[in-house]
């Protein structure tokens, strides 16, 4: 039967909440009538058992990482250790008020300080700010820092370069930070088109934003030259850390010449993705960018205690701060989880994670080759890959009559979450696969075999994939209708 929303369940008067009694003398007229709400918000009226059943049953209509393979490219869907939920849930962390007096929040500050140092070590950059709420927020901070850096030097640059392989957040961020986006092309190997970069790297350029390895899974072999070109014109080099999971302990953005790096704690440092949030997007910067960092800044004092500095002394990070980007100190609950992860893995474990991520991606690619899949879905660029790789479904579409979308939908019937589809944009019928390091060889084999089986099936009858999925809670949904006449809330 048709699913119902919580608003369509229950009955007037039912409730899950017992309100504490008014235990102070009741006073009438505390609020002017004009300020008062007259009609109650039409919230659901359900008992606790109804509430629990509704949401437990809703949850069962989700596919999740704990149940199956989730090779969503660029999202780093690695295992989420439950230890992290346990430690984040300790009342000393979970019920700590963000305005608690710092001397009574020393554990939190110490944790953040330690996390900053560990993240800095991974990036090879000395200064870290944890405040941004997500990767896109970190990007915004990074570009605003670039702006502050240039402005402080009396320069008013207007452009930011982004490769055409970039995540959509990069150009969107550039606009939000008041810059003009200038696209840089990609060469046949999947790296930055050096000649195009040289042509566009003018003194009007504030920054080049780069992901390395990029969204094609390609580590740019010219990264040192790129850094040179960018720095030559006085611009900063920004590292989009979405793909940091490929290089932890193996190569450091700081060593590559990057000035600013953002981390996605929810990717490389394993936060549960929560159905799309929360995330956390700290950034690391070089000495020259440090003065502009957000406040408050955590400082360790000589006596070993930690303070939150809202107005750091001259010469210290944040002394010329651009201000703040959100309330309080950032997504501390995420910090706890990522810190626990770093404590669990240590230097060796982080390196093992990246090594295994790259091994798994290359193995899956090789396995797909061995099964003949790449005849229909060739690798878009290069031979090997880093932690992810992009196939192009264009030949499949032509030869077998099924699109990348159809392949993705048919994978649902095989119990797999499909890879990212139709991104990066410059690959026709793109199919971006990131297996991550926490998957077994057996799972990679089964996934490769499922794809091979779907292609064989499509060779016999493409309609099967074209109309997939069949076994999911709902089948293909009419997205056009949803956008045309949006129904975005329950009518009451």
């Amino acid at each position: 039967s048709e699913v119902k929303t919580i608003f369509e369940k229950g009955s007037p008067g039912r409730r899950a909440f017992s309100c504490p009694k008014v235990d102070v003398p009741m006073v009438e007229g505390l609020l002017p009538d004009a300020y008062r709400r007259t009609e109650p918000a039409r919230l659901p009226e359900v008992s606790e058992p109804e509430l629990v059943r509704h949401y437990v049953n809703l949850s069962k209509r989700n596919f999740d990482l704990d149940s199956g393979f989730y090779p969503l490219g660029s999202c780093t869907m690695k295992h989420n250790p439950r230890l992290h939920e346990r430690v984040a849930g300790l009342p000393g962390h979970a019920r700590l008020h963000p305005l608690q007096t710092p001397k009574r929040a020393q554990g939190a500050l110490e944790l953040m300080y330690n996390l900053e140092r560990a993240l800095g070590s991974v990036a090879g950059l000395p200064h870290v700010a944890l405040q941004p709420s997500a990767g896109s927020h970190g990007e915004l901070l990074g570009v605003l820092l670039t702006r502050a850096y240039h402005e402080d030097r009396g320069e008013h640059r207007r452009k930011v370069l982004t490769p055409d392989t970039a995540h959509g957040t990069n150009p969107a961020t550039v606009t939000m930070a008041g810059y003009e986006v200038v696209k840089v092309g990609t060469n046949p190997d999947g790296g930055v088109d050096i000649e195009d970069l040289k042509a566009k790297a003018t003194t009007d350029v504030a920054c080049l934003m780069l992901t390395n390895p990029n969204t094609l899974g390609v580590f740019d072999p010219n990264i040192e030259e790129i850094a040179h070109i960018v720095h030559e014109v006085g611009a900063t080099l920004y590292y989009d850390g979405a793909n940091l999971n490929a290089v932890m302990g193996i190569s450091r953005p700081g060593d590559m010449g990057f000035d600013i790096v953002h981390y996605n704690l929810h990717k490389s440092f394993t936060q549960p993705h929560g159905g799309g949030g929360p995330g956390s997007g700290p950034i690391a910067v070089s000495d020259r960018i440090a003065p502009y960092l957000t406040v408050p800044v955590i400082e360790k004092q000589d006596d070993g205690t930690f303070t939150l500095e809202h107005d750091p002394a001259e010469g210290r990070p944040g002394s010329k701060s651009i201000g703040r980007l959100r309330g309080f100190q950032g997504n501390y609950g995420c910090f706890v989880r990522s810190y626990a992860y770093i404590c669990s893995l240590g230097a060796e474990g982080l390196k093992d994670a990246s090594e295994t991520a790259v091994l798994n991606a290359n193995y899956l690619l090789a396995k797909l080759r061995a099964l003949g899949v790449t005849e229909h879905l060739p690798l878009a660029f290069g031979e090997l890959c880093m932690h992810e790789f992009v196939l192009s479904g264009a030949p499949m579409k032509k030869d077998l009559g099924i699109k990348t979308l159809d392949l993705a939908k048919r994978l649902l019937d095989h119990g797999f979450h499909p890879p990212t589809v139709y991104f990066p944009l410059l690959v026709d019928e793109a199919f971006l696969i990131e297996p991550t390091e926490t998957e077994t060889k057996e799972t990679l084999d089964a996934f490769a075999e499922a794809i091979a089986a779907i292609l064989t099936e499509a060779g016999e009858d493409p309609a099967i994939a074209q109309n997939a999925p069949y076994t999911t809670p709902v089948r293909r949904l009419d997205e056009a209708a949803a956008a045309k006449s949006p129904v975005i809330r329950q009518p009451l």
């Binding site: 989420n80 110490e110 404590c343």
Partner: protein, 465 residues
Amino acid sequence: MSRYTTTTDADLREMLQTIGVGSLDELFDRQIPAGVRLHERLDIPEGLPEQDVYAHLRDLAAKNTSAEDEITFLGAGMYDHYVPSVIDMLMSRSEFLTPYTPYQPEISQGGLQVMFEYQTTISELTGLPVSNASVYEGPSAVAAAGYLAKLANGKARYVVSAGLHPHSLQTLRTYAHGYDIEVVVVPLKDGVTDPDAWAAAIDGETSAVFFAQPNVLGAVEDASALSAAAKNSPAVVVAQVDPITLGVLAPPGECGVDVAVGEGQALGNRLDFGGPSFGFFAATEAYLRRMPGRIAGETKDVDGRRGFVLTLQTREQHIRREKATSNICTAQALNALGGVVYLAWLGRQGFQELGELLLQRTHYAREQLAALDGVRKLHEQPVVREFALTLDVPSVAAVIDRCQDAGVHPGADLETLTGDPAHRGGLLVALTEQRSRKDIDRLVEVLGAAVTAERAAGTTTGVAA
């Protein structure tokens, strides 16, 4: 191989052979220039067994004084409301905890329907027809509303009430500096936004106006009047609202507000030392296609079954790139789940009752405290869950410290919070349903003693100086 990875030696041999490389190093050497390969160990301690990580994180937690350890009246943006156990249970279910953004709606109906329900609750609370599926948190939601106004009308100036939470004001400034919009701050008068200065500041170049309800001093603003003042300007009227107060306060949508945003933490989310939580973002119909972030919509599948999808995605960065309405690419889906479950848990009646309870207890606490020697109200405006006092002491921080030694956190030091010297001596006291009359009476006792002691100490110091 760690406890989270699985490549046995046998696996490794077979995988390398299939790939056609001789070693793991070769995989990297063939792709990464030698000049940027790292050959030293990261400066990070050795990995630990689970029990040791737990013990370490627990020891750090023990160095914090949480709301479990003291009676806290801290608020100022985040509040120690009781988080019902059903929320922990639901948020910890793998099916909600571990998937990502619902790109494949056929296997993400749970999360999508939660977003749809969430949007409905926010719409109901705010009295505005349109809500997105949430944004990062409160202050950045205010800035996001500013960016919406910038894209909508391209005007030059924001007019901001000084009653806005300082974090929101600071965040708005940081964002606005990026795209060169001027920020004009209108002062408070008698605890609320000065209506004359407000009206005077708004003109044809005003892109948006911003006020908080209640404001940072806990005072209830005349939202309708503040909105009305912008009606003849191009300005988008933005209100930052404490959602918990909407059980008793008129919804922004009925007060002429165009965009209502706010911090959602109070709705079923933990304090977490400041995050993660969620920001809510609601607007009039006119701004539907200018909203930032994810929006879920209802539709049908090929068999005619009801279903939900992410919709209106052409606003978003992954499609529109530099022309997007925002660079935000996720909601705070898990936290918003907490929000909708909390509101469904409270329910229609409970949400009102909670508001009334806070209203009464807040009044009681304010009157009791203001009756203490050396303590007075900072303003006389109506308050609903938080209020500002002025302490006649040399150092509010010292008073707070004394109270905390007695197991009670009396509230936020207002001057530290706002950075405004005019707020010297200010204390911002917040109530939740977890603070009973007994707790309030204890606060009265402890604060009274601390103020007395501090005044005595202060006098002594003064004499000595």
